[in-house]
Symmetry: none
Subunit: 277 residues, 3 copies
């Protein structure tokens, strides 16, 4: 006989759906844990009702999740999600390593340094479990960015405009903007091959939404929508997935910004259309 | 006819339960917002399936929630939950002000400074809405703790042992431990009247679980259980509530620590019983 | 002729400069790691192009870095930077212990508790490596601040005005402001000897910029500039260093606040000059 939990769920199908999704996403069996956080929260909600939704693919949800768990500093979830991303084959080790560099810029080096170590360890584990040698790192492509400082700044300014969908660039005679933003973040990091723009957007928006600084949240949500790298529906879905992994307070702020930036982008698209027609 | 939302819920009763809980907790009507984060996440899960659970009272959940939203730096949720805590009458302004001081210690002064300003603003708003003058605050002096540095340290050492359920105290000849922990945190802050031990435990565990440093999480979960200020069931319920407001990665770490500390505390209680019988 | 480095940079001198800077700052050899985060990010950028810059000394950069890695909760970077600060002789153990107390106030006690343990461990390690006994710590008592509650509050109000460069003090009849800010943070902590004002400013600004609460960021950037404890150039340099260790989103917010507060401080200086001339 099933006892009815009036406060939570009495639906065994929902729990079963959650356990199946857990197995598929995490590539290990769901835990037998009856604590409310795991049974009612993680299985019945996060796996049964978020990971199973359409709107973002499982692979796309992994980039958001990896950024969120690494931001949250919780050791076991970082290990488990890095392992699952590699073991499922959803991400190659080359992609996940490139994601660590992107994450480093938006979350800071200390958190990225931990993530990078865990990637190495879990990549060894996946290969060990398969009875394989760890393959040598893939030969990386020649960088598309120039080494000459002037040319690098110019490339940074071009990428800054393209990525941010903005008509202007920041003043280079400022250490943060010149030596940091133009020279490295946009002059070198964003133009690297190895991750598509959509994946870079997912990592970036997760990090800025976690970090709480209002202007970067606004500008990266705007650029993700304006560039059409993320559709409006995908961005809404992002907010729900992010809520589970970084909590409702941050997600509810993100959700407001998304609503505002949709209006702004729609207005701009309508104005562009009016101009060209 | 029920339309089936394959991605989320097909249960209008669940949404209705969520909207009713939202109204009771937040003291305003639930938003008409169909975005997944709000409709599927906040209403259908956080309000329909977390706030309605037994295990912790609504008043107790407020202390956890206030610590989580203030930790997360999200302006609107802080404003809304401070307003709701005061407007519902669940917390007095004296209690919430004492909670801000406790929060300052465990979350850092900058976050507490923002929370303190919002408490003043929302207390004015609540009084204004009721056509009342804002009553004068309770006076700070006289302090209940000793002024003499030696006596204050001794008081701090005693409170350190009682709050942490530990037989030893840290070396005072260390600025962090002596001037900070013994002199202020346990010598002055914890012994203040105005909040009960259970409320101080709720704020503390929320903050240490947010902050990620492993030893403080372990020691405060242990002490909350060992002191019986929180029951095992209440602590499990805490983890679920915390998951919603600070995200699953941090909550899953907390959940593990809770499981370990329950075993430790049970072992100690059994050993104590064996000794006394 | 430019040799092409297929892994990212075309400048082997840049990688070499980064590896040399790493060795000098970290007091251990740079890792042989070709992952993008380490080779392209940490060595080629953070060490080759940030730590080598003028504008802040290596010792000054350590206070920022220690606050950032402790805020980020990443175990290995905390250990490595505490070790490097002590092993290089850039910071004495007394200074770093005082820095932990200051950090506790602005980042919260749980993070500081972990940092404090690591300082003790690394101080033992440095002494062990040198075949020395760990010397006894400096005694806590007597405190330099008054014991009488009224006198302590008065001392706190004076320090509050001086540190914040403000003409007013907060109302003491509020637990956060009275028992916390005036009584402890400014009544005891800031007036402690053992760290200069510039060092306390570096820790404070790093912590408030990490914590995201807008008012404290504004007020501490303002006070650091207004007091002339940090020059305009040093503050700009701070933003770049901070970006690397706490991520670009928080740094971008800080950079804007710096620009605004420079204007405010310049205006005030001009007005003062006009008045006195």
């Amino acid at each position: 006989m099933t006892t009815i939990d009036t406060a939570g769920t009495s639906d065994p199908a929902r729990a079963e759906r959650g356990r199946r999704a857990f197995g598929e996403v995490m590539t290990i069996a769901a835990p037998d844990d009856s604590s409310p956080a795991i049974a009612r929260g993680l299985i019945d909600f996060v796996f049964a009702e978020i990971w199973t939704r359409p709107g973002l693919t499982r692979r796309e949800r992994r980039f958001i999740t990896l950024a969120c768990v690494a931001d949250a500093d919780a050791e076991a979830p970082i290990v488990e999600h890095v392992y699952a991303a590699l073991n499922s084959g959803d991400l190659t080790v080359t992609e996940i390593r490139e994601a660590v560099l992107h994450f480093a810029v938006y979350a800071g080096w200390p958190k990225a340094s931990r993530l990078n170590m865990i990637v190495d360890q879990q990549w060894e584990r996946v290969n060990h479990e398969r009875g394989q040698q760890v393959p040598p790192p893939e030969p990386l492509l020649p960088l598309v960015t120039p080494s000459d400082p002037q040319a690098r700044l110019a490339r940074g300014e071009q990428a800054f405009r393209e990525v941010n969908c903005l008509p202007y660039v920041p003043d280079r005679d400022n250490p943060y903007q010149g030596a940091g933003i133009l020279n490295f973040v946009f002059g070198e990091m964003w133009p690297r091959p190895g991750l598509g723009m959509k994946e870079r957007r997912l990592i970036t928006v997760a990090c800025v939404a976690f970090q709480d600084a209002p202007y970067p949240i606004m500008s990266h949500v705007y650029a993700a929508l304006k560039s059409r790298d993320l559709s409006f529906t995908e961005m809404d879905e992002f907010a729900l997935h992010f809520a589970a992994y970084s909590g409702w307070p941050k997600a509810s702020y993100l959700d407001r910004v998304i609503a505002e930036q949709k209006v702004r982008v729609l207005d701009e698209w309508r104005a562009d259309e009016a101009e060209t027609s």
